[in-house]
């Protein structure tokens, strides 16, 4: 039997690498930004397009938010420049790109 493929559609899905690779722990909606309650992969309420234009921001305290949501909070005097989750002084963390590398402790 000969099969001719007339048409095909490729589908891809993306996710921010939040370091939380435990898919079982993430519910159907995935993780949400604690400030706006919109999934990380969505965008903050002020943006229209998810992706690089509405990125996430990581704190050294390990908490993650939409960058725009966090900056809006830090822009208010009420924030006292603290992380909304743990009220520690907010320090933006360096992105760790290679956190999926296996640890080899020889």
């Amino acid at each position: 039997m000969k099969v001719h493929v007339k048409h095909w559609s490729a589908v891809a899905q993306w996710r921010w690498n939040t370091g939380n690779n435990n898919d079982a722990a993430a519910d159907d909606e995935g993780d949400v930004c604690g400030i706006c309650r919109i999934p990380y992969e969505g965008c903050c309420p002020a943006c229209k397009m998810p992706g690089d234009d509405c990125p996430l921001i990581w704190g050294q305290c390990s908490h993650v938010f939409h960058m725009h949501c966090l900056l809006k909070w830090l822009g208010t005097p009420a924030s006292k420049q603290q992380c909304p989750m743990d009220r520690r002084p907010w320090v933006t963390a360096e992105r760790k790109v290679n956190n999926n590398v296996g640890n080899a402790a020889c």
Binding site: C36, R37, I38, P45, A46, W73, A78, P84, R87
Partner: protein
């Protein structure tokens, strides 16, 4: 209505409708994204046995970046709980509604905090400066700069 507060409040309302309010708390009205009303009572042993109070939330367009204005409703049928941190006009001296507000808090988190503030009350009395405060209090409690006693309530 600005989208930030409306979108977040729509999510919170949806959650309340699906999962219900915490025990002892009921949604009375949420017809818009400006003002919500709840009834609140303390379940179990407390100084407020059998008392049901009405709690009002007022949101501005920047919620949850800015804290909601929360107070007990005082009308012909109900008064504010008699509590060392609650004024007779319904205004509440609680740090999470002022300097300790965080945008990760929510309406139901505030309800639960106030409920436990009532539950842990040991003496039913008004704040010492109640009369002075109520005479000059602004309509919106967010305009008041409360001095938090720092004791555990």
């Amino acid at each position: 209505m600005a989208s930030i507060s409306a979108r977040r409040l729509r999510k919170e309302l949806n959650e309340i409708n699906v999962e219900g309010c915490p025990a002892g708390i009921k949604l009375l009205s949420a017809d818009n994204f400006d003002t919500w009303l709840f009834s609140i009572e303390v379940l179990g042993e407390s100084l407020y046995q059998g008392e049901v109070f009405k709690l009002m939330f007022r949101f501005d367009a920047n919620y949850p970046i800015s804290a909601p204005a929360v107070q007990f409703v005082v009308d012909e049928t109900r008064g504010a709980p008699i509590h060392p941190h609650i004024y007779s006009n319904g205004h509440i001296c609680a740090s999470i509604l002022g300097t300790e507000w965080s945008p990760v808090l929510s309406v139901s988190a505030v309800c639960v905090t106030l409920q436990s503030m009532l539950a842990s009350c040991k003496v039913k009395e008004r704040p010492v400066d109640n009369d002075r405060y109520v005479r000059t209090a602004p309509d919106n409690p967010k305009k008041t700069r409360f001095q938090y006693d720092g004791d555990t309530v």
